[in-house]
């Protein structure tokens, strides 16, 4: 019981920390935007720089770094183990801090290891490949809106502060363009190592990533048609309304486009090169493309993988899970709660303050959704068995691609018949219903003939 309360307390603390981070982020974006505006460079520059610091460096990098530890601790919990808890900070005695010192130990190890250069390697490309792999993935997060825009008066101007680094009209096309660049880093790493096995790993990786690019795009096309835009903030706005006019059922992408969600999630998971699709790496058996890399260069490949997890979670949150919105009813409740907070603090409901408080809470909601999706990806990675190589290609070209095309077609028909989202929502909920029915049926079928084991352990 004590641990239960400790974990609940930890969850509350995490949410409060996210709120504090979002609050500081909004203030910094607003402040730096005003500064650069005063310098005559335009507010966008300062806002983007502040957003880069608060989103990329403070959120994405910290979450990705902690995910390297979470991967070990959470997989341990799923496999009835404890996980790493032996690295300890001096002066703290026997407290293992949940294993967080292991992150420091890992960083120390990677930085202090020999920077190995294989004799047969192509020197320039060998050094370039980790950067080419890391940079595009790190750039992907730039268009993800982590919080709603808040107009704040700034002298004579009104600056719209938002926790989003860039908001181009091309939106999701930027994601496709930049995500497909990462394949260069991977295949170059395999080629420049001067190692046949690494080259084979790079070839596996590039063919897999190219195969899943198509499904990645098609999975999102349905949602683009539904929202009628490519910009992520507008997509989030579309999902704030209620489905069928109900205030408790939000029009999230996962409800109106469940098939698109599955397709995109599977394809993006293949892009991250993690376990059901980890043939390019195959750490334990088949050698992957980064076999010749050591030290921090290997660390860049690893951290790129975790940054990709966070990015994928954020994009899925923005496109399919309603972004910072819960259902319309809960959103209204949050808004009145924000008004109550501001009135308690300042005596009257100052409109900007209410908006800012609401935005801070909604940013925390977005971040919590991202964390939950990160957990889901780790759970998938530690549950599913690895696909065979022909199964990967079969899944990509002969299942996901036709399903994606069918989904685009069905979405188009539904939108043509009913421009409001009601028909699409009905079809989506029917798809989810069929899925749940299949799940229950499969459970009933496969638990039936289970033979009784000879003796059962106490667990």
């Amino acid at each position: 019981m004590a641990r239960l309360f400790r974990m609940l307390l930890l969850g509350v603390l995490i949410v409060l920390g996210l709120c504090a981070w979002a609050w500081l982020g909004y203030l910094a974006v607003n402040w730096l935007g005003g500064v650069t505006l005063g310098w005559g460079w335009g507010a966008t520059l300062g806002q983007a720089v502040a957003a880069i610091v608060f989103i990329q460096l403070l959120f994405v990098m910290i979450v990705a770094t902690l995910l390297t530890l979470a991967e070990r601790k959470w997989s341990a919990a799923m496999q009835d183990r404890i996980g790493p808890n032996r690295a300890r900070l001096p002066g703290l005695g026997r407290f293992s801090l949940g294993g967080i010192p292991h992150v420091l130990a890992d960083a120390l190890k990677m930085i202090s290891k020999e920077d190995f250069l294989p004799s047969q390697s192509n020197r320039v490309l060998y050094h370039l490949a980790p950067v080419l792999n890391f940079a595009p993935i790190f750039c992907l997060f730039a268009i993800v809106p982590m919080g709603p825009p808040v107009p704040i008066r700034h002298g004579f101007a009104v600056l719209v502060a938002t926790l989003q680094i860039a908001n181009p009209d091309v939106g999701l096309l930027y994601v496709f363009a930049i995500a497909s660049l990462a394949v260069y880093g991977v295949s170059l790493a395999g080629w420049a190592s001067g190692n046949k096995l690494a080259l084979l790993g790079g070839v596996r990786a590039s063919s897999q990533m190219i195969a899943y690019e198509v499904a990645l795009g098609l999975g999102l096309v349905g949602m683009m048609m539904t929202a009628g835009t490519l910009r992520l903030d507008q997509m989030v706005q579309t999902q704030s309304q209620g489905l069928f006019g109900l205030s408790w059922l939000p029009a999230w992408g996962i409800f109106v486009q469940p098939l698109g969600f599955l397709l995109f999630f599977a394809a993006a998971f293949a892009e991250t090169k993690r376990t059901p699709f980890d043939l390019p790496e195959g750490e334990s058996e088949i050698i992957g493309y980064f076999v010749e890399y050591s030290g921090m260069k290997f660390g860049m490949f690893m951290i790129a993988e975790f940054v990709e997890i966070v990015t994928l979670a954020a994009i899925v949150t923005a496109v399919f899970l309603g972004g910072w919105h819960l259902s319309p009813a809960i959103d209204g409740g949050l808004a009145s709660f924000a008004a109550v907070l501001v009135r308690w603090r300042f005596g009257f409901a100052e409109p900007t303050g209410v908006l800012l408080t609401l935005a801070v809470m909604q940013t925390a909601i977005f971040a919590v959704k991202v964390l939950v999706l990160c957990w889901l990806q780790l759970a998938i990675r530690w549950t599913f068995p690895r696909f065979r190589y022909d199964q990967i290609q079969y899944l990509g070209w002969r299942i996901l691609l036709p399903l994606g095309l069918a989904n685009v077609f069905a979405t188009g028909v539904c939108l043509l018949l009913d421009p409001s989202l009601s028909l699409l929502g009905a079809v989506g909920l029917a798809e989810i219903g069929v899925g749940i029915a299949a799940l229950l049926w499969s459970g009933a079928k496969s638990t039936q003939p289970a033979p009784a084991p000879a003796h059962v352990g106490s667990h």
Partner: protein, 221 residues
């Protein structure tokens, strides 16, 4: 040729293990996604149980209770108990006066298949009969804990009843145990022990300090 009678089909050879029959896959199983979700439910339930509930730290893993399923024993802090039949590392049995019961007869060193026992015998100057070990060393790295020395000892001077194992060390010389580390545990006396027959000796007593009564035929000699 086709008219030739076919040989009767061979009966399958009896096997000790009956393999479970493979049943054809159902449609949801072939659809793959429901099965994946069921697997995800299993690992999620394990995750939540192990995350939210505290671990029973009992070193007896099979008897841990509670919703937490972790079966790890954190070794230096928690030590799994040895089963009751385990005898453990040997010890040199002391007499009531604290000296070893060993009379340096070399029986154990002779029978030891690992040749890990080294004995140097000494003599009491006033006693021409009884010997004692000047050095009695067991190389614990070589010892295979077979117990033959215990069987061979005519004086009940070496026993395997400590229930512990040899502690690991960082260097080899410290793992050669001498009398100072082997001589431990409760003292043992037998009625036939020779020192009870000497002048002025204490009456025979067992390991707990209780006197041992003489045999009916055993008079005061």
């Amino acid at each position: 040729m086709s008219d030739a009678p076919k040989p009767p089909p061979k009966a399958p050879a009896p096997v000790a293990y009956k393999a479970p029959e493979l049943r054809p896959e159902t449609l949801p199983e072939r659809a793959f996604v429901p099965e994946l979700l069921r697997g995800l439910a299993v690992s999620t339930s394990h995750f939540l149980r192990n995350l939210l509930f505290s671990r029973d730290p009992s070193p007896d893993v099979l008897h841990r209770r509670g919703p937490n399923l972790v079966s790890t024993v954190q070794y230096p802090e928690e030590v799994a108990p040895y089963p009751p039949g385990y005898r453990g590392m040997h010890r040199l049995v002391p007499r009531p006066d604290g000296n070893p019961r060993c009379v340096a007869c070399y029986m154990c060193a002779t029978i030891c298949p690992a040749q890990c026992i080294y004995i140097e015998a000494g003599e009491y100057p006033q006693d021409p009969i009884e010997k004692f070990p000047r050095r009695f060393e067991i190389d614990e790295l070589r010892c295979i804990v077979c117990g033959l020395c215990v069987e061979a000892c005519p004086k009940d001077a070496i026993r395997m009843d400590t229930g512990t194992h040899c502690k690991p060390t960082y260097d080899r010389p410290t793992i050669v145990y001498g009398i100072d580390r082997l001589l431990k545990g409760p003292a043992v006396s037998h009625r036939t022990d020779v020192w009870f027959k000497r002048e002025g000796s204490d009456p025979p007593a067992d390991g707990h300090g209780h006197p041992i009564p003489p045999l009916p035929g055993e008079g005061k000699s």
